[in-house]
Amino acid sequence: MGLDGALVRKDFPIFERFIDGAPIVYLDSANTSQKPRQVIDAMTSFIENSYAPINRSAYRLAGEATDAFEAARSKVARFINARSSDEVVFTKNATESLNLLAYSWGRANLNAGDVVVLTHLEHHANIVPWHMLQAERGIVLRWVPLTADGQLDLTDLAALLTDAKVFSFTAMSNVLGTITPVQQLCEAAHAAGAIAIVDGCQYVPHNVTDVQAWGADFLAFSSHKMCGPTGIGVLWGREQLLDAMPPFLGGGNMIADVRLDGFTTAPLPAKFEAGTPAIIETIGLGAAVDYLSNLGMANVREHEMQLGSYAMSALTKRYGNDISIHGPSDIAVRGATLSFAFAGIHPHDLSQVLDQRNVCVRAGHHCAKPLMRLLGVSATARASFYIYNDESDADALVDALAGASDIFGF
């Protein structure tokens, strides 16, 4: 049944703001999403009424804060269908979640010559931590190539995964919008004896996520792309794997005991949560999960399929061969994140002209330089749609692009 973007937009105070007398057309949600009143209020109310340390003080207020914090963890666990909330580790963001894995699981399990398989779709956050391990340990990286329309080319997947220890891949490309066959990829990883790490940063905010149905081993995602605040992210992992991993950061909260001659770690998930966490932001993430759950993630996906299709066809209808939208044309295998090239105009110039009409798009390499090289460009313009967008935003994008062709001419 989808969503009414205009109605959803009323929940987001930022859209009450006008710039140069006109409303904001925010098409940069793949970068970071806007925040609904419900999330802002939950954080404010927590600060004003319940703020206290968690997990370490005996008074009632601290108990209340701890309960609110742990309630957020349970919400996240249900949102991704984790078996237990002990499997949900809070981090700073998806980048930290992936670094935690490379650091902790990687250093415990990977040595010279061991194979880690990545894909050509990956964000730098799922590349550089492995590069660092390559420099330190001499691991070998292999890359799953792409088809001409920007999907994973799985023809030689079994060969690529031979003797691999890790297969780490995105569930949805932040550049091309491509949605990958996560369940199939997890099965292929396991058939080869590798663990399956899913970068869900772009996927989780826009789709129904079920880590058990996927058969994944780890999932990383960020709060700020799913209506929550910045500074809080999630690493989900299968309990057995998290249990076997050495800790990441050392300090308070992650220990069971500390003596002069050593320490023992706390049970999950505290083992991976050293120091005072982002308490307020975690409350905000919990509220964001409630907000999205109330909309219904299946509705979110349906809304974005409709909107993505509408935007792609409106752009193509108006500009024909002058616009080229990267990635799959079939909305069934992509999200409403549209990277495009327009009339040979540099993305920075496009973004500048669109900004004149308050149309906010990202211009740049999207932290995916290897993919940019594959596309043969240094940058793309990217319009990414979310729950608060509707067809009027797509129309505004289409109209504003005409301004670019007026200046740069074709």
Binding site: Q352, G364, H365, G403
Partner: protein, 162 residues
């Protein structure tokens, strides 16, 4: 918001559409490479200096209209100039972009908050480059305009006995 006419002046678009001095130079010309990590733009500056004078300059790379036109106009402006005059021009340009002169030799672009930074040799003529003045009204684009100049500064540092 300032109008786009302030940014996309006709002379800028002309240099963007028909960039001057594109190409490479063989050694002994020096080569320097600049990147804008924010947007992925990159530029290569080839500089041939003979007896302290810019004998030739060529530029390759990809970028937006502001970065490519700035590079093109820069190449015209410095060709045939003494290195000392080129350095004065670099400082004058940075000053026009509102960048701190004291910082001119480093890679770190620090925006000056004070408006009267016209301390760098005001007698240095910018010519066509004046067209880039409008960029200051669009702060996110200043890095586009200065990329070629930062790279030129690196290239000059590579010139033996400069």
């Amino acid at each position: 918001m300032p109008g786009l006419d302030d940014l996309y002046r006709e002379i800028i678009l002309d240099h963007y559409r028909s960039p001057r001095n594109r190409g490479e130079l063989a050694p002994p010309a020096v080569r320097a490479e600049g990147h804008n990590p924010l947007c992925g733009d990159e530029i290569q500056v080839y500089l041939d200096v003979v007896d302290g004078v810019v004998n030739d300059i060529k530029i390759t790379g990809s970028g937006c209209s502001i970065s490519l036109s700035s590079a093109s106009m820069m190449s015209q402006a410095v060709k045939g100039k003494k290195i000392a005059d080129v350095k004065a021009l670099v400082n004058r340009f940075r000053s026009m972009m509102g960048l701190d002169i004291a910082d001119a030799e480093s890679d770190t672009d620090v925006l000056s908050i004070d408006d009267d930074t016209e301390v760098a040799a005001p007698e240095v003529k910018l010519g066509d480059l004046e067209a880039l003045q409008g960029v200051v009204k669009f702060p996110v684009r200043i890095k586009c305009a200065t990329l070629a100049w930062i790279t030129l500064t690196q290239a000059m540092a590579e010139v033996p006995n400069a």
